[in-house]
């Protein structure tokens, strides 16, 4: 039986991950290299492995965009689409699968989810744990 020990890595300065921005790094973690995307939304950091739940695409390297919603009037008629600025989506550039950055889950089918990675911020540095 093989056991692995979690290890923490300094991946960059806090300023490398601006609000609604990202930092994508490759980390040599023992026998394998793991690519991780670190994102910031409303000051908080979130990190995921750069592998889409769909076909394995580089989800963390896609467009960052707010969720699109459709507004309805009182009679349920459409008023068109708007960006929901209270959300931040990351979009896999292979096929467009979108993930809410705060949950890592697809907004319409939550079992499609990115693999979360532990991330912490201390003394102006960003650390992820694998």
């Amino acid at each position: 039986m093989t056991t692995t020990t979690a290890r923490s890595f300094d991946v960059g300065a806090s300023t490398d991950v601006p609000e609604r921005g990202r930092l994508v790094v490759a980390i040599d973690a023992g026998a394998r290299t793991v690519t991780v995307g670190v994102f910031r939304f409303r000051g908080r950091l979130f990190a995921y492995e750069n592998v889409c739940a769909h076909q394995g695409g580089p989800a963390c390297q896609g467009r960052i965009v707010s969720r699109v919603r459709e507004r309805l009037d009182a009679e349920q008629g459409s008023l068109g689409t708007v960006f929901d600025e209270d959300t931040m989506h990351i979009v896999c550039p292979w096929h467009g699968f979108e993930y809410d950055v705060t949950t890592g889950r697809h907004p319409g089918r939550p079992d499609y989810a990115l693999r979360p990675v532990a991330v912490a911020e201390e003394g102006g540095r960003v650390r992820v744990t694998l």
Binding site: F9, D10, V11, G12, R22, A26, Q61, R63, P93, W94
Partner: protein
């Protein structure tokens, strides 16, 4: 403080239209390792290059000097016609990339150092995709030319197809023997179809012929029988390649690209398959190998059930048939992409219904927005290794004589 040893910031933080194909597809390498794909013979039966990038070159292959002059005058005088002259490219197709969310659909605008542009650049891009996805042979088709069946002037569509076929066989195929193609037939003109097969059937790399499915021709018309006979005698498959249309009687009601794409890529091949089977084309030409391309797979069990159901009540409407329609449908071939895998049980049932291990051929459709990597086939949990090898390449080897 600095980043730890063994941590590297990726040079490409965001993938755009300018990112190298090999970098876009880098994660496919993980599938190659996980599934041992280097050990498989992989044939991609449907991929695309962007012929409009080479459009001025292609138009010089137009036979008719009057039409060639028209094309050249359009390119010279109309500000935006440099890569569209004579074409019926639909502007709605610019919705395909989901507003920049899927950049490779819009353009592969990456650097190709040392390439001369045009066909040379196309071949470079194809090689990059093959390398990234561990593909051994790739069948390459054009993109906007798939819409020529809807051209308002059929004689122009015929001339454009002839020019494209001559350009592709002269400029692309000789540069890379791993590139294959099924050349488009000028289907509005049955005589020109025969001439196309005569001219190109023996050209290296031409492994079949193609009907672009967005068109309003009944494939059962008597005028096409000599074509089917010719292809059957030569052992060359005929493919029906689906395409988009947001302007037909039903899709014109649709306000979203998703809706029109979901429907129109399937209904065109549903229509042709219905005419093909109910009029007994497989009975008339039992040796003609028929391939349905880029409609996905979920529609096929529907067609089997629907046509069988009606045939049992209306046998006199399909007098050439000696078996239920589903039997003929099961004996035809299908490309895999876009394989609708949203429910394991439904996919397993679909693959069983179409006898996938003998009828299904992997296709990527790269670089389109809904492409499939080979790992998608390798990952199917209810197929054995023999079936996966057939789907990824061995069935194509047999169908095309590769």
């Amino acid at each position: 403080m600095s980043i730890d040893e063994g941590v590297r910031r990726l040079p490409t933080q965001e993938i755009t239209t300018h990112t190298d194909s090999r970098e876009i597809l880098a994660n496919a390498a993980a599938d190659t390792e996980r599934y041992g794909l280097d050990d498989y013979f992989i044939v991609d039966v449907d991929s695309h290059h962007v012929e409009l990038d080479s459009w001025p070159e292609i138009l010089q292959y137009l036979d008719n000097p009057v039409l060639r002059d028209t094309a050249n005058q359009m390119m010279r005088n109309w500000p935006n016609a440099g890569r569209l002259a004579l074409h019926n490219h639909s502007p709605g197709l610019t919705m395909q990339d989901v507003s920049g969310r899927i950049p490779h659909q819009a353009a592969l605008a990456e650097e190709t150092p040392g390439s001369e542009g045009g066909a040379h650049r196309d071949v470079t891009l194809v090689r990059r995709a093959m390398e990234a996805m561990s593909i051994d042979l790739q069948v390459v088709f054009p993109q906007p030319m798939l819409e020529t069946g809807l051209h308002p002037q059929p004689q122009v569509a015929t001339a454009l197809l002839q020019a494209y076929n001559r350009w592709f066989t002269a400029e692309v195929l000789p540069r890379e023997p791993r590139i294959k193609t099924m050349l488009g037939l000028p289907f509005e003109d049955p005589e020109a179809c025969l001439a196309t097969v005569e001219e190109f059937a023996d050209h290296p790399g031409v492994i079949g012929f193609l009907v672009t499915s967005q068109r309003h021709a009944g494939v059962h018309r008597n005028a096409y029988m000599p074509l089917y006979r010719m292809l059957e005698e030569r052992g060359l498959p005929i493919g029906f390649h689906a395409g988009p249309n947001q302007a037909d009687s039903m899709t014109s009601t649709m306000n979203r690209f998703l809706s029109a794409h979901s429907m129109s890529f399937v209904t065109c091949n549903m229509t042709h398959m219905t005419n093909w089977v109910i009029n007994g084309i497989p009975e008339r030409f039992p040796g003609l190998k028929t391939i349905w391309i880029e409609s996905g797979l979920a529609w096929v069990p529907f067609m089997m059930q629907r046509l069988d159901h009606e045939y049992f009540m209306r046998q006199s409407d399909a007098p050439l048939l000696t078996k239920p329609p589903s039997h003929y449908i099961r004996e035809m071939y299908y490309t895999s992409q876009p394989m609708e895998w949203t429910d394991d049980a439904l996919l397993e049932s679909t693959l069983c219904a179409i006898d996938a291990q003998n009828s299904l051929m992997y296709s990527s459709d790269w670089p389109h927005w809904d492409f499939d990597v080979p790992g998608k086939i390798a990952a199917i949990p209810f197929l054995d290794d023999h079936a996966k090898r057939n789907i990824l390449g061995e069935t194509a080897r047999k169908v095309f004589g590769l």
